[in-house]
């Protein structure tokens, strides 16, 4: 569906990377969850992988400008993020789906997406069209007037995706977006990702490695708040071998890369029986 493109969007950008982090440090409470992360992301779909507690959600929150960095540099769309600074310009081009997606149950789908569009300071005349497009893209056009409390978990997740993309953001952050989606919907979602990835920087944080392998152009692997590896899904699959844990090449690659990273930190945790990747030796 065609839409009118503003001159803002056709002017060439003056920055090299949509997201640029150097030695980024972000606190989650008192714990330094992101600890010296160097990252560069441009247009395309990036998959964010890592064990639990690696700092993925904290990173997402920092990129969504919810949490200011406590150290290092974070530059989004050419603008440096700072505690006490004004992130409004960046936020207008931002789309975010948090892991625990909250909503107003008595709003209808359309009302909620409209409300979020208004919250993102979209020009009023563009909102109805953008909302309709977003709702159609996620496949809930027939339920646009249904109240959110009547929807299933998967449908709610899709509404969350709709509100994230309604303003055609330049940075799209999706934290566990495929939770509750059935396999058919996941395929549709990957299609949407690819579409968004043609002119936006999309970061998808997920545990479903095959989603990453199928839809992403780039994979970012982080552990303990630091960048472990960044490369293409093919390189990820190639990093693993027969001896690594996993049921697919991508999973094997993931385990291999983590093991290597941990091996650089401590001696041979794999041999000590640390199959769950906790970093701790099991009791004998």
């Amino acid at each position: 569906m065609a839409r009118i493109v503003s001159s803002d969007e056709t002017t060439p950008t003056r920055y090299a990377w949509s997201v640029q982090a150097e030695g980024l440090m972000v606190k989650a409470g008192r714990h330094l969850a992101v600890n010296g992360l160097d990252l560069r992301m441009g247009v395309g779909v990036q998959g964010l992988l890592g064990p639990n507690g690696a700092g993925k959600t904290t990173l997402m929150r920092a990129l969504a400008t919810i949490v200011p960095p406590s150290g290092g540099d974070l530059i989004l769309l050419g603008q440096r993020m700072r505690a006490g600074g004004d992130a409004r310009t960046v936020r207008r081009s931002l789309g975010y789906l948090p892991q625990s997606f909250g909503y107003y149950p008595r709003f209808t789908v359309r009302e909620f997406v409209e409300y979020m569009a208004w919250m993102k300071e979209m020009p009023a005349r563009e909102i109805p069209g953008a909302v309709q497009r977003a709702i159609e893209r996620i496949g809930l056009a027939d339920r646009a007037e249904a109240k959110l409390k009547t929807l299933s978990g998967g449908m709610l997740r899709r509404v969350g995706i709709a509100q994230a993309v309604v303003n055609d953001p330049q940075i799209l952050l999706l934290d566990e977006p495929t939770v509750g989606l059935d396999p058919e919907q996941r395929v549709g979602f990957r299609e949407l990702l690819r579409e968004m990835g043609t002119d936006a920087c999309v970061l998808v944080s997920t545990h479903l490695v095959e989603d990453v392998a199928a839809a992403c152009t780039d994979v970012v692997l982080i552990n303990e708040g630091q960048l472990v590896w960044q490369g293409s899904p093919q390189d990820l699959a190639g990093a693993g071998g027969g001896g690594d844990a996993g049921d697919s090449p991508a999973e094997r690659g993931y385990s291999a890369l983590l093991r290597d990273h941990r091996g650089r930190a401590a001696n041979d945790p794999q041999a000590s029986g640390d199959t769950w990747g906790t970093g701790r030796r099991p009791a004998r």
Partner: protein
């Protein structure tokens, strides 16, 4: 802004608030109320509305607190934090919607209750009434905004119930407590509660209403400013309007004992409306609906008093603010009996109780038609004075005094012996003694019980 405002109005607590307040107010009136008619008096109704703020404010604070905590309970805080729209732009429509709802609830309650006043009211001072009702409306807005602030600062499920009951506590206890703080009585006018037990001719001057409105609005504005600001530094600054208003307004408020200090006599309400024919029977304009009902008993009292020389020729209602002592005007030389209609109410059909009408004649004849407050003595009336009044009234009515258990025991005994003493002398002497008693009361000299029983002023 417009569309989100309309959505907020529909989806927020605004409508449930209005419904809840109306339901509770109407139910309380029917189930718990005493069929209040406010005596067909607009000012009494307006003051009654102010004191019922006690109930309505509780709901306003609760609704505000619940609304403010909604974002936390729905888990949207994180999502909204990633959007560019500043907090004030988002929450201002909510605050506005709730403010409108709470004012609406208040005005609707007033409108419903005025159905019992409008048919029988004979006087209205629109400006004063608007002032009193206006301050009430401002209070509702301030209450709801304070509730919003409380719910925002403490987004726990405990906040709405605790805040509501605390609001109730504040209004109920503090106004009493402040009023009893001696010279601090002006402080009690900082709270919006107005005593409804004021009487007909009372009015609240526009200046007092304006001062109260300014102060309460400043508190509301401070609460709103703190609620909409995203940073702590601005929240702290938000207290300035309230502090400024307090400093400016508090010294200007009238001093006196409690909220009665807010009232003055409305000169137009105190104008006299008189019945046709003689002798003259007049009531204040505000009580004019009762004129036809009081004329007969008043003239009966004058007829009874006509047995005495220099008897009074008119019965006039004296305007007063509250049902307490009021001295007759200085120009009074005894040819008027001053009437006090405050003990006698009017039902919702505008009718006085027949028992009250009978009691009116007795009231007018008490102390031989002389106002008891004329010679305000320290210690008030002694039991002998009460007895003397009982005896003289009985004499004027032509039958022995009926025992009245409301009098102190000593009085009842003195009444019996005094009546025997009076009726034991010839009729001419009785008349002379009662006339002397009246003269003594008019000049404030002489012991009236001795006059009746012994005939001399000693």
């Amino acid at each position: 802004m417009n569309r989100s405002f309309r959505i907020e109005l529909r989806r927020s607590n605004a409508l449930p608030l209005v419904a809840a307040v109306l339901a509770v107010m109407v139910l309380s009136d029917f189930l718990l109320g005493e069929r209040n008619s406010w005596d067909g008096n607009w000012m009494k109704l307006a003051a009654g509305g102010r004191s019922s703020l006690l109930v309505m404010v509780v709901f306003a604070v609760g609704a505000g607190a619940m609304q403010a905590g909604l974002d936390y309970r729905r888990g949207v805080v994180e999502l909204f934090a990633s959007t560019p729209r500043p907090r004030r732009s988002r929450v201002l429509p909510v605050a506005l919607a709730l403010a409108i709802a709470s004012v609406l609830a208040y005005l609707l309650t007033f409108a419903i209750a005025s159905a019992w006043v409008a048919p029988y009211a004979t006087y209205a001072n629109p400006l004063a009434i608007a002032g009193v009702v206006g301050v009430g409306a401002v209070t509702m807005v301030t209450a709801v905004w304070l509730g919003l602030l409380a719910g925002h600062l403490l987004p726990s499920r405990l906040t709405p119930p605790i805040a509501s009951v605390l609001a109730l506590l504040l209004m109920a206890v503090a106004s009493e407590g402040l009023g009893s703080l001696g010279n601090g009585a002006a402080l009690s006018l900082l709270l919006p509660d107005l005593s409804p037990s004021v009487e007909g001719a009372a009015t609240v001057p526009g200046r007092v209403s304006a001062l109260q409105a300014v102060w309460l609005l400043a508190v509301g504005v401070s609460a709103l400013a703190a609620f909409v600001s995203a940073r702590r530094r601005f929240r702290v600054l938000a207290v300035l309007p309230a502090v400024l208003a307090l400093v400016l307004v508090a010294p200007q408020l009238p001093h006196g004992q409690g909220y009665i200090a807010a009232y003055t006599i409305d000169p137009r309400a105190a104008e006299l409306v008189c019945a046709a024919g003689t002798p003259r029977v007049c009531v204040t304009r505000v009580d004019a609906a009762r004129l036809t009902q009081v004329t007969a008993p008043a003239r009966a009292a004058l007829t009874a008093l006509a047995r005495l020389p220099h008897s009074p020729t008119a019965v006039i209602e004296q305007p007063r603010i509250e049902a307490s002592t009021v001295k007759p005007p200085p120009s009074d030389r005894g040819d008027t009996v001053w009437m006090d209609l405050t003990p006698y109410g009017v039902d919702r059909r505008g009718r006085m109780d027949p028992e009250d009408i009978k009691d009116l004649t007795v009231q007018l004849l008490a102390n031989v038609g002389v106002s008891a407050d004329r010679c305000l003595r320290t210690g008030g009336m002694s039991s002998a004075d009460f007895a003397a009044s009982e005896i003289s009234t009985a004499w004027l009515l032509g039958h022995p005094p009926t025992p009245d258990s409301r009098l102190p025991a000593g009085s009842q005994e003195q009444t019996r012996t005094g009546w025997t003493a009076l009726t034991s002398v010839p009729a001419a002497e009785q008349r002379k003694r009662v006339a002397t008693m009246r003269k003594a009361l008019l000049t404030c000299r002489g012991d009236v019980y001795t006059i009746l029983t012994k005939g001399k002023a000693r």
